[in-house]
Symmetry: C2
Subunit: 461 residues, 2 copies
């Protein structure tokens, strides 16, 4: 009666026996049929694995095919998106198609067993898609994301996304940061403003968290250094290639800092680790996507906002004179990144000391000039990929700034209570996962870096 089973690592079902396989070995692998090409003598079955494609060669006189019931069938009965298991002999090969992951081997098919099959004759074939313009193509891809994700290019993008997130978590865990999980249903909005999704929660109005800002600061009072990887929500009504209404926020907060430089150094070192990891683990994907990873040198330039205006004007790198302006103009973002690359060989630029009135209330004002803040943006290749800085850590400083801004401190009871009970000097930053993925890969539309993008018009699939 008792149905026992043994637990051992070897018992975990494997779909892939190709690791380390040598020419002449017979192996069995499972995957989806990505493509079938029939020739006179047999043909090719291109098998899709999680890592990419594998070429297998059919020889009519050697290869046998079986359906789900074990009945013999013909190669012509195979079709795209069948789940199959192939047994075959490994042979050497030289394959140029960048979508083929195993480009130095191929399998000589001995036997194919069909495990399951599509129920339409019109399986989506991403490789054959030809549209007049990128917008139409993207709409089609997003409308059918449940299947178009199987296209090697999209698989590659999300593989890089996943690798970035894991490198982020691994680096921080190694450096004394604790990963936390904070609520996305909240009663107080961190940034405030109109861009917040409202929801009924058992008769009470609540919000979807725009960021874990309050909670990660609280976390610093507990664990000194914390990070979180979680969704964040912005009810932004504009539909652009740079925005998502739901995105993954990589959040960091660090206690016992001496100044915002500690935070910037942490971020630079973290990005260095992420770039190294992606270059090591995603070489296939980078090649497939034609992407070049950004350069982060040992010296990353960091300029004050006012210095950026000056540099660009003095060197005649911008059309307009932006000196005295309280933010970076888009042409300045591009120009200062080009200047940093030309002059310092860096794809990254920190810009610091933004005006207090343009930054969130929790940004610490610069004691030397309280109209400015100890906060920064990190630009990469002309785009802002992160905001960060030192935070206020004294209760009274919060109250003063809130009142100055017309905010009611009573609406932030639990947040202020944190500082009332003592908090170390601290700071942090946040990186949008989809945005940094797009920047790394040179992809124009950030939505392509989300598995199932959400924008003002899209909540499905």
């Amino acid at each position: 009666m008792v149905n026992e089973f043994m637990i051992s690592l070897h018992d975990i079902n494997t779909t892939d026996n190709l690791a380390g396989a040598r020419a002449g070995e017979v192996v069995t692998v499972s995957g989806m049929i990505h493509n079938v090409r029939v020739t006179k003598w047999g043909g090719f079955i291109i098998l899709r694995k999680a890592c990419g494609l594998l070429q297998t060669v059919v020889d009519n006189s050697e290869s046998k095919f079986f359906d789900e019931q074990g009945n013999q069938i013909a190669m012509a009965d195979l079709c795209r998106e069948m789940a199959i298991t192939i047994t075959g002999k490994v042979g050497d090969a030289k394959i140029k198609d960048p979508a083929v992951y195993y480009n130095t081997i191929e399998l000589a098919v001995q036997e194919v067993r069909v495990l399951s099959r599509p129920t339409t004759a019109e399986v989506v074939d991403m490789n054959a898609l030809k549209f007049g313009d990128e917008e139409t193509l993207l709409r089609y891809k997003f409308d059918n994301r449940q299947v178009t994700l199987r296209n090697p290019r999209d698989m590659g993008i999300l593989k890089v996304q996943s690798t970035i997130a894991k490198a982020f978590a691994d680096f921080l865990s190694e450096n004394g940061f604790t990963q936390i999980y904070t609520p996305k249903i909240v009663s107080e909005g961190a940034e405030g403003g109109a861009n917040v999704f409202k929801m009924d929660y058992f008769g009470k109005q609540v919000y979807l968290a725009q960021s874990p800002q309050f909670y990660k600061q609280i976390g610093v009072g507990v664990y000194e250094r914390v990070f979180e990887i979680a969704p964040a929500y912005r009810a932004e009504k504009h539909n652009t290639s740079r925005h998502l209404n739901e995105y993954i926020s990589l959040d960091v907060e660090m206690g016992f800092i001496k100044g915002q430089e500690d935070v910037m150094q942490l971020e630079a070192r973290l990005l260095q680790h992420i770039i190294k990891t992606v270059s090591e683990k995603c070489a296939h994907e980078l090649n497939l996507l034609g992407a070049t990873l950004p350069v982060l040198p040992h010296e990353v330039p960091a300029w004050k906002l006012s210095e950026v205006h000056e540099i660009l004007w003095e060197n005649k790198l911008c059309e307009a004179d932006h000196r005295g302006e309280d933010d970076l103009a888009p042409e300045e973002e591009r120009a200062i990144c080009k200047y940093a690359l030309d002059t310092y060989g860096s794809d990254f630029v920190f810009v610091t000391h933004f005006p207090s009135e343009h930054r969130a209330f929790y940004a610490m004002d610069d004691p030397e000039d309280p109209t400015l803040t100890l906060s920064f943006d990190l630009l990469m290749r002309g785009l802002e990929i992160t905001s960060g800085g030192q935070r206020i850590h004294k209760e009274q400083d919060y109250r003063d700034k809130m009142i100055k801004r017309g905010m009611n401190p009573d609406n932030f009871r639990f947040y202020l209570d944190t500082f009332k009970n003592g908090m170390p000097p601290h700071g942090g930053f946040a990186i949008g996962l989809e945005r940094i993925t797009a920047c790394f890969l040179g992809i124009n539309n950030v939505k392509e870096c989300s598995m199932f993008p959400r924008d003002i018009n899209r909540v499905a699939p």
Copy 2:
């Protein structure tokens, strides 16, 4: 004008130079004052670090104290929840208090520098809290979670929670699973039913995802094996010690399985890894919490639901005769776990083959008896910690089952389209992070295992 800074791992600010410190060394550490005890000759400052407490000894004739401005102050000016930096000489010690992490050393204080201070004389002191009953204590703790989290016991619980999640991710990444990030704003509810939070999304009604079920299945068509760590939402109106309205779901889905046994073996092996990791990395926390990790032997019993009824009745282990019932009674959950522990030395029991009408529509029916499903629950110490099983992978089987249940297949267009385009046999499971943490630690109320619990009455802090 140019403000450069060097990037190097050594530049990351460290708050802790105690690792490997030996008696006689002078070290500097930062942290929060957890407690101060004044004696005639000086006293003790108990410093709180992320990992736990450190004892430091003040000698009036040797130790000096400075405030934020660098002015000398007295030890009596120190108070709990000040952020400080201590420089002192390492000495050997033998400390019994289980909240003290560094229990073989102490610091002889040379100098204390105050970095910041609380602004209330009534700092929350979790160690001194005495309430008549647990409910009052818990309510107080949750109402003031922004500060009560600093209590070593709660820090320990969430440290274990974080360690479980990381062990989960690391094991699966090592075994060919890709971590995915799927939307929590959805247009179709996976499980359906009333327990779903509704929200307005630019004039359209949407839902908060109850689980990533649809998306992780889609992920299998892309990456063969996927996992996700993300919030899940249940609008359950009952307020019990076992439920949270927002919780962290550890989700796994695995393609190319031979049957649900592959999924069960994966889960058992995964849990084995998690238990091993927690025992290695959280020895301090387990000791502090008085917790004993569950035993997962090399043979974990797995019985059909009908077999469980039989075993318990035949061995007279339940009061009532539950044979023929279509679910496990709570007394059966406890009894079969006790039986598994007594007979097989296992704190875990798989129960399989639940009736089809009690499981989600995507559960695969048992071909040998279509009234049953190829699905399982995993029980641990009397509590269900996971549900899983093999899923349907044929479009027509979905349609048939939906229609039989009065569901409209047209409402599941993108989901069904996935199977129409071909899907391998697959299955998976989900583990509630807070629930498994509670089970591991022997904590009665699952809310204690959430950093900021959400229940029908609570959306703050």
